[in-house]
Symmetry: C2
Subunit: 153 residues, 2 copies
Amino acid sequence: MAENDDDGAAVEELLGTRLGYLLKHTQLRLAEHAGPALAPFGLDARELAVLAVLAAGRPLSQLEAARRLGVDRTTMVALVDALESKGLAERRRSEEDRRRNVVELTEQGRQVRADAEAAREAAEREFLAPLGEKDAARLVTALRMLIRTPNRH
Amino acid sequence: MAENDDDGAAVEELLGTRLGYLLKHTQLRLAEHAGPALAPFGLDARELAVLAVLAAGRPLSQLEAARRLGVDRTTMVALVDALESKGLAERRRSEEDRRRNVVELTEQGRQVRADAEAAREAAEREFLAPLGEKDAARLVTALRMLIRTPNRH
DNA sequence: AGTTGATCGTCAGCACTGCTGACTATCAGT
DNA sequence: ACTGATAGTCAGCAGTGCTGACGATCAACT
């Protein structure tokens, strides 16, 4: 082959410092890893995140849940649709403000959430394992900081 | 407001350990930051990555370029279309293997690539600044390792 | 009461990305 | 010449994320 040895190394050097590339492919790898872990529960990561937000405190309206997840309110419609059709959550008209749909987990939803969360955590730990505990923690901290830091244009 | 103080803190604790959430939102923040930096060149990050791969070594076929970037070959068609229409790259039928389109940068392409790369690097440095040099380097190393590590299912 | 402006949920529709499948042209081996 | 594989192209589909519109509802003001 004319394909010499530069393939791996060159790509490494070219793209290995591109933050966008690194983030994107890390995400892809994580999805490959975590997807199968959640499949048995009939959930994907986004749906599980919604369950987690709903299970956290007092019942939330769709918009509140959307804001906490950083998704659009129109996206949340489909998300809640999915959870409702799976019997994991229920919409209920708010009595105080009848514009709002209060979304609450069903008993099954609570159960599935707990089990799926455990599976997700295990999958993430496994995914991060090659870094070692200290570096894994540093990675999480770093990402959190980058997200929180306001954009100074 | 009934919205108490739990908002920020609760989300932090709930989602701040979700690797998928962190990666996704870090990417969003980066895009917000780097997008404007590349806009003056009429490029987005993906197109610039293609330019970088093409400028790296000997001329590549579309498929080779696609493989190095980790994109689909059908996606590369549109990517090269865009670069060609901007006068930054040119397709040329390979003489050795007439199935292949060798893609080469134009002089303008080389120029734009160099300038845009500098802008991208500056934007990324700025984006990573809150971490400090050491932690920024650690982040890059960690992501690289996660990508390279084979998925052990 | 009536009016106005905002908010929440919903839907239709658009854009972008990433894929599959089919097709043509070409190559390599038989 | 025949076969199987490969490169590029295109049409089409699915997922995601948005905008714009709409009806219902609320809050404030007249």
